[in-house]
Symmetry: C2
Subunit: 624 residues, 2 copies
């Protein structure tokens, strides 16, 4: 019996309703580790190139990481992966909560779902056994109801349910996946893949213990981290304000995406801030499995029927429905958040697609005729709520916007593509790259389109006052200006991308380790050693992280992506219109130079293609 | 006050007899660390390209590492560096003993010697103070006498003396440097650089404490290592037989260099083995500063006047004067060893140059007329002793052989170059690459010519039965066949070269950590953390190791070396004539392929030149 994982993957074939258990050995697990490493391995091995992401040919993988389920802050994540219907590229999205640890305690390190069920089904897993159950009665229902019914059917209030709502069923290309009604595999439209398979939910219950090698060391790490809870500035802030703390910070720095990224400062910021949330609608602070940080919010707004069980808006949601759409009403944003939860819509892409449509409306490219009479102007909060309903149901213009802004611009035409703020078809997250260049580089080169789950050290080191000493173990001893593309910046970005990639493979929340937060790299490594018994190192895990990035890139190359696709939207090359960095923009020339430097540092050729030697080095010669 | 080092470098200008202390800061020390990192930094900064290595323009650097002086097995090394008069390339050689720790306790992290004294001098250093003293009375004397006199003059029996003998004074191009009469900075002819500066010795006495950050952790590492002393096979063997254990092992594997590398098995092996030494001439087992391994030998041979204070022959010496010259008389080898000690001749290059001359003699290219009547045949032990005297004194043919075999072949002519077994002008160490390909790759690509202080994992993992699990923290999970050039072999070689390079920078003896021996990589990292207080990692130290390799390479490129110089001698491309791998040879094509793969894995171009981006990544843009 291995330590820290089960050595077993569950395969579910929805074409014929069969299930199968596949054994994986220690070297496999140490090489690919879980999360995106495991996902990209199976996608590369088993998907034919250029399939339709919403066809039965796609496979959908649910993969916790090697540390998921460890009784330690942040060790709760699992990753869902497939070819993305939004980007057509390598698709993955991670979530916290309890579902990942539960799956591991149910005996599996991952689930691979193949094919497509003839009628709606859900998968029920308990302690090593899996069955496929009818879900016809759940189809069309809101997520809260579905969870209640499945728990009743399993006669167990602690059954953990991961599921899709209406948007997933209706194949909205940015539908997400939710567990426990408040933890989201948000991006890349993986909820639509789940919907395309007629898979409504996966319910899991596990009572099996995952043995760890060295309980005492884990306890020691836990104690050291606990000692930081009341002293580390960012940990304290995550507790008191959650991610919504970022609203006022980004606004002050002029990088709070406002009016579809035209601006960086929002007049109504303080009305929708984390501080205001605490003073008004906040009911509870919540967290994930084994985590004392408790960065999650639960809010209540009686007039809109917003219930605490759907959690509350995070920073990304506050920004995308708030400043990006110029809405300064926190209660409306809370309602938008709950609707997205109930329908499983990614709030970032939903808000950003609506903001795009609003700009089209303001510019006269779409009119009230197109919107069934809705005055789709910036600042119209009610219009936002109406659009969410339309998108989830694919009604009227919602059917166009459900395709994501990039496909919508093609359908709308009339020059609307100049209002797009996307990379590889995915809408930018709520961090304006003009104020933190590394984030821009990350958006552009990400194998999964613009995504905030990237190396955000510019934010951490520069804006949040985190000491750059924490990345000295990476061999980096100096900070860089957030608004420069120096070689040191690109190096820092590259090394920390390996680190972030490893978090994903291991199932670690990036709000816990350095540089974002308080747990030193050495304690992360010590945890991996203590859980698995592996004599490991920062070198080994960064090389593993690098391996997963290269695999995702090889997937994208196979799908036809090139260096041309590693680009930023025009908007961030234009001057930002207000705020602290008013007039600031990213020079195309400097960006291209940084991109080439990144390719070289990755061991890729000038076209962004991993060299044969890099694949050999990483043990990926099976991809050559 | 920093931990683990002084932050001070002593500069001695022999042109004008001045001394100066230079401060270095923590970031510098963390980046370059000492040893070859520090040496290559100063050589690149301060040497004009293509100077004569034996002119006053060369600088000579004595550099312990960041861990030198730690009270832990193997933490005793210091490195001497300069442009090499033997290879014309980056020159460095490391030694154990007590001198390195003593220098640090005398307040200095390194000594840089510039210029040339008008008459012989020695440098005396005590507790932060340095003076230049007359050495006219020491010039020409044997090392034992010199040490006695300097200790008398300093009125302190514990004064540690590093010095040259006659060969250094006479600028023999492979003269070495000795401390305590038995620890050698052996290769690259740095003793000749010392001689060219009229610098006879550096005597050091230090009573200053170097504070360490975390004494308890060092104690814990020490205790863990102590627990392995009686259980780890290689540690036990190093105590019982020393490096001479290798004689019988290599003979059995058919890779004991015999008859100038024509053969790999020596009939007389058992007569000169470590086992025989124990049974006959061994008097004592000795060690270095703070080290319980005690791999050093001290022998006594009354009939030849061999005294224990000169130590005893190591494996390299046994092989170079033994099988390589076909001599099977252990007492003669012990005498040869003592002569080399007294005159400071590198025993590897001395034995190998004599073997080369013997082959020339056997083939009739040189005759008794050239040798002053000496019958310079393979197996003639007395001839070996006579040749050592002639070389040290540059008498007769000794004056030619003192130039090293490659220059000697040019002087001798008549096709003698086909008997050369050298890389970049330096004679191969006593490990036949035909039986361990990684050693061959290491000889060829080494910036300092063929040298055994390279990544010798082929030996360790394959021949010595060391578990490859010990290198799992490097992300390597499988062993390779010693006689293959697979991608995994090249990767293993490359990663472990970084590791070996770091040992050199840190001052760690490679007989202590994995993969050669018992201390796990994590304990090495823990030691560095405990000594310095740096929150460090395997990643950081391997990147530091990589940095030093790149700096040495940039030095060589500046001196005119190209990929053409990264080659193996013809002899190893020819079939070996006897032994276990009889008929075995290294294919030129396979070797070239492996070399190109190594370049690529290093981030170098196909000419073996570090790319601009690699230098940027390593913070070496000052070299672009």
């Amino acid at each position: 019996m291995p330590y820290g994982y089960n050595g077993k993957i569950l395969r579910v074939n929805l074409n014929n309703g069969s299930t199968m258990v596949e054994d994986i050995d220690e070297t496999f697990y140490r090489t690919y580790m879980g999360g995106s490493g495991l996902i990209s391995y199976y996608l590369l091995r088993e998907l034919k190139p250029r399939i339709d992401a919403l066809s039965a040919d796609n496979i959908l993988i649910f993969a916790p990481g090697v540390l998921t389920g460890t009784l330690l802050a942040g060790m709760c994540r699992f990753i869902v992966g497939a070819k993305s219907p939004l980007t057509g590229a390598f698709g993955q999205a991670e979530a916290g909560g309890w579902w990942g640890p539960e799956l591991k305690r149910a005996g599996f390190d991952a689930i691979i779902v193949e094919g497509r069920a003839a009628a709606p089904v859900y998968i029920y897993i308990k302690d090593g056994e899996a069955e496929i159950r009818d879900a016809s009665h759940l189809w069309g229902k809101k997520t809260g109801e579905v969870q209640d019914i499945i728990r009743q059917e399993s006669n167990d209030e602690r059954t953990r349910v991961v599921q899709i709502g209406l948007a997933g069923e209706n194949l909205v290309r940015y539908a997400c996946i939710v567990n426990e009604l408040k933890h989201f595999n948000g991006r890349n439209g993986l909820g639509a893949v789940m919907g395309s398979k007629n898979l409504k939910a996966i319910a899991v219950r596990g009572n099996m213990e995952i043995p760890v090698k060295d309980e005492d060391s884990i306890k020691a790490v836990r104690n050291r981290f606990a000692g930081l809870l009341n002293t580390h500035p960012l940990v304290k802030q995550l507790y008191s304000l959650g991610t919504s703390a970022t609203v006022m910070g980004n606004n002050a720095l002029g990088i709070l995406p406002t009016r579809n990224f035209k601006m960086g400062e929002f007049e109504g910021a303080s009305k929708i801030s984390g501080e205001t949330m605490v003073d008004t609608i906040l009911e509870k602070r919540e967290g994930c499995f084994a985590c004392p940080v408790r960065c999650k919010r639960a809010v209540k707004v009686e007039e809109y029927g917003v219930e605490t069980r759907y959690g509350g808006p995070e920073y990304e949601t506050l920004a995308s429905f708030g400043p990006l759409c110029m809405v300064d009403d926190l209660k409306i944003i809370a309602k938008a958040n709950q609707l997205c939860n109930q329908y499983t819509l990614d709030t970032i892409s939903t808000g950003a697609t609506i903001a795009f449509a609003m700009e089209c409306f303001e510019e006269g490219i779409i009119t009230k005729e197109d919107t069934d009479g809705i005055e789709l102007r910036f600042g119209n909060g009610q219009a936002v709520l109406q659009m969410i309903e339309k998108i989830a149901r694919r009604e009227g213009i919602g059917n166009i916007l459900a395709e994501g802004s990039e496909r919508a611009a093609k359908l709308i035409g009339k020059g609307s593509e100049r209002f797009l703020v996307t990379v590889k078809g995915q809408e930018l997250a709520m961090h304006d790259p003009r104020g933190k260049y590394a984030v821009g580089l990350g958006y552009a080169v990400s194998e999964r389109g613009a995504d905030h789950m990237i190396s955000t050290h510019d934010t951490m080191l520069a804006s949040h006052g985190i000491s750059f000493d924490t990345i000295a173990p990476f061999g980096i001893y100096e900070p860089t200006d957030p608004r420069e593309f120096s070689a040191l910046k690109v190096k820092t970005f590259t090394y920390l991308e390996y680190w972030w990639s490893f978090f994903n493979m291991a199932g670690i929340c990036d709000f816990v380790p350095v540089p974002r937060s308080a747990m030193p790299a050495s304690d992360v490594i010590e945890t991996l050693r203590a859980v698995t018994g592996w004599d490991t190192s920062l070198w080994e895990v960064l090389k593993a992280g690098e391996r997963a990035i290269n695999m995702a890139r090889m997937f994208d190359i196979r799908e036809g992506f090139t260096a041309e696709d590693d680009k930023l939207p025009e908007r961030v090359h234009e001057p930002i219109e207000n705020g602290l960095i008013k007039g600031g923009y990213i020079s195309k020339e400097e960006f291209e130079k940084a991109k080439r430097l990144y390719y070289s540092m990755m061991g890729w050729d000038e076209k962004g293609v991993p060299t044969e030697v890099k694949l050999l080095e990483l043990g990926l010669d099976w991809l050559n």
